[in-house]
Amino acid sequence: MIKTRDWMLYALVFACGGTLFALYLAFLAYLPPVTSMLTNSVESAIFYTLFLRAVLLFFVPRFRRIAGQFKIGILSIESFVLVGIIVWYIFTADPAFNTLIGDILTSWIAGGLVIITPYSILEFMISMRKSPNLTVFLTSLVTEFAVVVFSVNIVSQVSPAPTDLQQLGISVLGSVKVQAGTGLSGLNASSGLVTAASLVLYVGAILYIVLKHGVVGRTFVLPFVLILIGTILLLFWSSFATIVGLDIFVALSTPAAVIPLILWVISREKK
């Protein structure tokens, strides 16, 4: 029999995962059908083998059990192939290999964005339910969120939309090359979709922390109240920063990182 708390956790898993999937679908919506983006054999080979690898890693129990770094290796076989081709190109200086390197790299990045993103969102949802580790949850949440917002921003900014995987890969590389965070500036907090997603993930994360990690034997109320107080102080702080003309999110990142660090150091000394 599933308890109320478990139902709430399942609801949170689906709310957070669903929000990330919604952004992923928004990303796909900007693109033509993925199969029509496979214009040559390299793109097709990379896309279909990547899809197959992701399916195997997710559904086959033997593959599911292997360590995370090996999973990354399996999904990144192209990078090992690229190393070999680069070495071969150094010795032969054949321009065909130069083209092949570009094709593989861009197709792999674009294919990864299309295939690895939903795979990692599903893994994130499973880890939300199973993992006892809060660090895994929060770091995964922020990276998943960043990736999907980054993806949807890139495709929303590129006009006309990429017609094949290589073009998509080039767009991604172009954005990353300028600055990691640049891709997030196009579809910013003023966008309704991102705002809604941010809100759902913010509230979902708080509820998840309280439900799964924040309770010490009694009720959920006190931890929830404490985080709520933090949120209210955040609102005051952001209002103050706006009045004095600070970049609030830059200003916020400092106390957010420093306060726990100080506490940690203090408590280690006392121990």
Partner: protein
């Protein structure tokens, strides 16, 4: 104050979230990191403000008395100032050596203790280790407190042993009726003359009034001492298991002696050294309940390690000395004791000793009835 395992994860997660979200520019997650940091800070401040002052520790019942091996239940509850803002856990209990304890946390700050002792004796004091967690479970804080009001009194099983009748010899002299025939001036009964009965006790006037020719004799009553004094001498150094075992055997031995003496009709006075008064402390017991009080009172005082006048006085005044074999290794002490009836507690580390018929070396199994008979025949 220290970080819990969960707290380390929590802080790492918050720092990781703050750093990664700052690098990636995910503003809502920076805000979440900020809110979590504030929550951690408040939670830390609340826990840091909780101290042991104005803390109430209640143990119910404070004093427990029963026979050794019996299990007793006690409930311990703690009330902290600002206790609603933190989680209180009674993490461990430390009881004196010789007490076996099982604990079960009933609710937050309330625990049930099940204690028992395989030794007879008095066990006082309980050490309680309390662990406080903040509301988020990130930090923990420990307090150690000792409650000296908690007392477990474990009575010897010899008090429950069935009493065998001891019949004093007829020549015994005492102040109290032995409820058996003897040599006192008091009349015990009239019986028919039997061959070899003392002829001076024939009641000739009674015989003359008898309708038949039966010979009637006067049977006199025996007497026993009104008070038998048992002196307890605990002078040698014993530690740990040896101390527990010695106290257990003293209780069993004294319990057995008193049980039989009280059943025979005597009162028993237990003599022991008094540290506070610097002299002799005595307890007069005439029933089993008073005996329990007397024994526990003796055991509640620490052993006097130094030779003192009061110990010599106890040796002189007592009818039976109860002491250990270790005490007899000092010849100056052993000689006066050898002249008395004594119950000598077997000490594992003591040298082998040959004793006369006045003494019984007691390891818990020996029959103490001969000693009882001897003291009634004095």
């Amino acid at each position: 104050m220290k970080l819990t395992k969960k707290g380390r994860d929590y802080l790492k997660a918050t720092i990781g979230l703050a750093v990664i979200s700052s690098l990636l520019g995910v503003k809502s997650m920076i805000a979440l990191a900020f809110a979590l940091s504030i929550a951690i800070l408040i939670s830390y401040a609340i826990l840091a403000s909780v101290t042991m002052t104005e803390t109430t520790i209640t143990i119910e019942p404070k004093e427990m008395r029963g026979f050794k091996g019996d299990e007793f239940q006690a409930t311990i509850s703690m009330m902290f100032k600002r206790g609603r803002w933190v989680s209180v856990h009674l993490s461990s209990f430390q009881l004196p050596d010789g007490v076996i304890v099982k604990s079960q946390e009933l609710s937050e700050g309330v625990a049930k203790l099940i204690v028992k002792s395989p030794y007879a004796g008095r066990f006082a004091g309980i050490g309680i280790r309390i662990e406080l967690w903040d509301a988020l479970g990130i930090f923990s804080k420990e307090f150690q407190t000792v409650n000296s009001q908690f007392v477990l009194e474990s009575l010897p099983l010899s008090l429950l042993a069935p009493v065998r009748a001891t019949k004093p010899i007829q020549l015994s002299i005492g102040e109290r009726s032995a409820r058996s025939q003897g040599t006192s001036l008091e009349l015990y009964s009239l019986e028919e003359y039997q061959p070899f009965t003392e002829t001076k006790n024939l009641l000739w006037k009674k015989i003359a009034r008898m309708p038949d020719e039966r010979l009637i004799v006067r049977v006199r009553e025996a007497t026993i001492p009104e008070i038998v004094r048992i002196g307890l001498l605990d002078i040698a150094t014993r530690k740990g298991e040896a101390r527990l075992r010695f106290a257990d055997l003293v209780c069993e031995g004294v319990g057995g002696l008193c049980n039989n003496l009280i059943a025979a009709g005597c009162s028993v006075e237990i003599l022991s050294t008094s540290r506070e008064l610097g002299g002799i402390e005595s307890f007069l017991v005439s029933n089993i309940s008073e005996l329990g009080d007397g024994l526990m009172s003796f055991l509640s005082k620490p052993a006097t390690q130094k030779e003192s006048i009061s110990q010599t006085q106890i040796t002189v005044l007592s009818d039976i000395i109860v002491t250990g074999l270790l005490e007899l290794e000092d010849l100056n002490r052993a000689n006066p004791i050898a002249k008395k009836l004594s119950l000598l507690i077997q000490d594992e580390n003591a040298l082998p000793l040959v004793v006369g018929d006045r003494s019984t070396i007691y390891s818990g199994l020996e029959d103490i009835l001969p000693l009882v008979s001897k003291v009634l025949e004095r």
